[in-house]
């Protein structure tokens, strides 16, 4: 009966009041004719019952035969509900607006949550993520999770692992910080130069300085030796004066230069998409290609391949099903003529970019020189960029020839 009621709810039903001499006769006839009646109730001098919409015409006929009168008290069910709903335009627009709004709002990343950090500041990690491409307000679709994670890992060596997870509009960035190797403070070690530079300050905590300020050092050169010599002044009489190897500690601040070189010619060859492209689609189930739609051979001499994968029914089917779209864009080599001024600027920009790439994250930039190199070939501009930083170049190197630990 419940199933039937559900059916009648879907097709619509009527609440009818019946008055007359012999409603029982009417009910019996209706039952015999196979007309479904339910919820027959007896009130004072009248009966009410429910029946489905389609049977009403038949019931009228029966009522006339039994001398009863029918009166529709109410209409219920989905069709009437829909009718009433459709009349309310505002409600429908509101509903559409609401759904669209919800959909739009949920396609953006609105919140970024950072978990797992112990030593690194959340604000700093947030900034790092923003630079790697994960900012609040970005479209979820445009977020390349792997790319952001990789960029963050590259930018911050103190991160050991970064995992990104999109939960609705929230991006959860989980990080694992690198555990510092326990400093082997007992093991004897020297401090050596990590890179070439001009020493400006030498600060010795433990050990003996082997370089002076204003001295140039090369990579690998000994800066502070991990050794303690007993002062002969306080040596006990007769005791052998032996120097003791220690773990050298200190800071050696040096000016370090990073150089970048760039060139640009008046006619730059650029690869541009010609506008022609073909794509093929591959249905993958659990990473295995199942169905391939599209041509196999690519009719372009030069092309760029873009692979996008779209998960299908992600939340319904347990097995990962995705449609991979491979699009091949034809590329054309185009010679672009640029002015001398533009070429010069381009060369300078390239030089600077290369120099910047070498900069360590915590270096303090103190000077920047961008210079143009003399033109050797006609139409070719060359530039050099030198960035000067002040940084601590001392790294620990164990005395017994073990691996040097760069922190």
């Amino acid at each position: 009966m419940t199933i039937l009621k559900l059916r009648y709810f879907l097709t619509g039903f009527l609440l009818i009041r019946i008055t007359g001499a012999a409603p029982e006769k009417f009910f019996n006839l209706a039952a015999l004719e196979g007309i479904p009646l339910w919820d027959i109730k007896h009130g004072t001098g009248k009966f009410t019952f429910k029946t489905d919409v389609d049977s009403f015409a038949g019931l009228r006929h029966l009522a006339r035969r039994t001398g009863c009168r029918l009166h529709i008290l109410g209409k219920a069910g989905l069709p009437f509900l829909c009718n009433r709903l459709l009349r309310r335009r505002g409600l429908i627009f509101g509903l559409i607006f609401f759904i669209l709004g919800l959909y739009t709002a949920s396609s953006f990343i609105l919140f970024i949550q950072i978990t797992g950090n112990e030593k690194l500041d959340s604000g700093y990690l947030r900034e790092l993520a923003a630079r790697a491409g994960a900012t609040p307000g970005r479209l979820r679709r445009n977020l390349d999770i792997d790319d952001v994670a990789n960029r963050m890992l590259l930018a911050e060596p103190r991160l050991e692992w970064v995992g990104l997870q999109l939960v609705g509009t929230k991006l959860i960035i989980e990080v694992r910080e690198a555990i510092d190797k326990p400093a082997e403070m007992d093991a004897p070690a020297d401090l050596v130069a990590a890179k070439d530079g001009l020493v400006t300050e030498v600060l010795v905590f433990v050990g003996e300085a082997r370089v002076q300020p204003q001295e140039t050092v090369r990579r690998g050169q000994l800066l502070i030796e991990g050794i303690i010599r007993p002062d002969p002044q306080y040596a006990a009489e007769g005791e052998e004066q032996k120097s003791k190897p220690v773990h050298a500690q200190g800071k050696v601040i040096a000016r370090v230069w990073y150089e970048g070189y760039g060139e640009a010619s008046l006619t730059e060859t650029v690869r541009v998409r010609s506008g022609r492209s073909i794509s093929r689609r591959i249905l993958c189930i659990e990473g295995q290609p199942v169905l391939r739609v599209g041509r196999d051979s690519i009719p372009f001499a030069r092309y760029e391949k873009v692979i996008r994968s779209q998960p299908v029914l992600e939340r319904i089917i347990r097995v990962p099903v995705e449609v991979v779209t491979e699009t091949f864009y034809e590329l054309e080599l185009q010679k672009k003529e640029i002015t001398a001024e533009q070429a010069r600027k381009l060369a300078l920009a390239r030089a600077r970019q290369l120099a910047e790439l070498q900069l360590p994250a915590d270096a303090e930039l103190i000077d920047e020189t961008v210079e143009e190199l003399p033109v050797q070939k006609k139409g070719l501009f060359r530039a050099r960029c030198i960035l000067e930083t002040r940084e601590d170049i001392a790294v620990s190197k164990p005395k017994n020839g073990g691996e040097s630990s760069f922190d």
């Binding site: 009966m1 409603p23 029982e24 009646l37 339910w38 919820d39 027959i40 007896h42 009130g43 009966f47």
Partner: protein, 96 residues
């Protein structure tokens, strides 16, 4: 009556073959759930219905369901379901 003569051999038949009696003997099958619902199969229509009493025709007499706030939840050619608080069920058979 024809039914009477028929039941002479129909009853042993139902007993021997363990066939449902209500079908062989054309009897109503009444199922009562507590005092909440009374479900009657193989009925012959409603004779009278008020909130306190429902009289149902059978092939061989009538069945009266009395109670309070009785509602015919469902009705078709073969079945009637009566809801309400049922107080009594009474048979009135022509053959007795």
């Amino acid at each position: 009556m024809g039914e009477k003569t028929g039941s002479k051999w129909r009853r042993p038949l139902a007993d021997i073959f363990e066939l449902p009696r209500e079908i062989i003997l054309d009897l109503p099958r009444v199922t009562i759930t507590g005092n909440l619902q009374c479900y009657i199969e193989n009925h012959g229509g409603i004779i009278a219905y008020t909130g306190g009493k429902v009289r149902i025709a059978l092939t061989d007499g009538e069945l009266a369901v009395s109670g309070e706030n009785l509602v015919i939840r469902y009705m078709n050619k073969d079945e009637i379901a009566i809801d309400g608080s049922i107080l009594g069920i009474q048979y009135k058979l022509d053959s007795v």
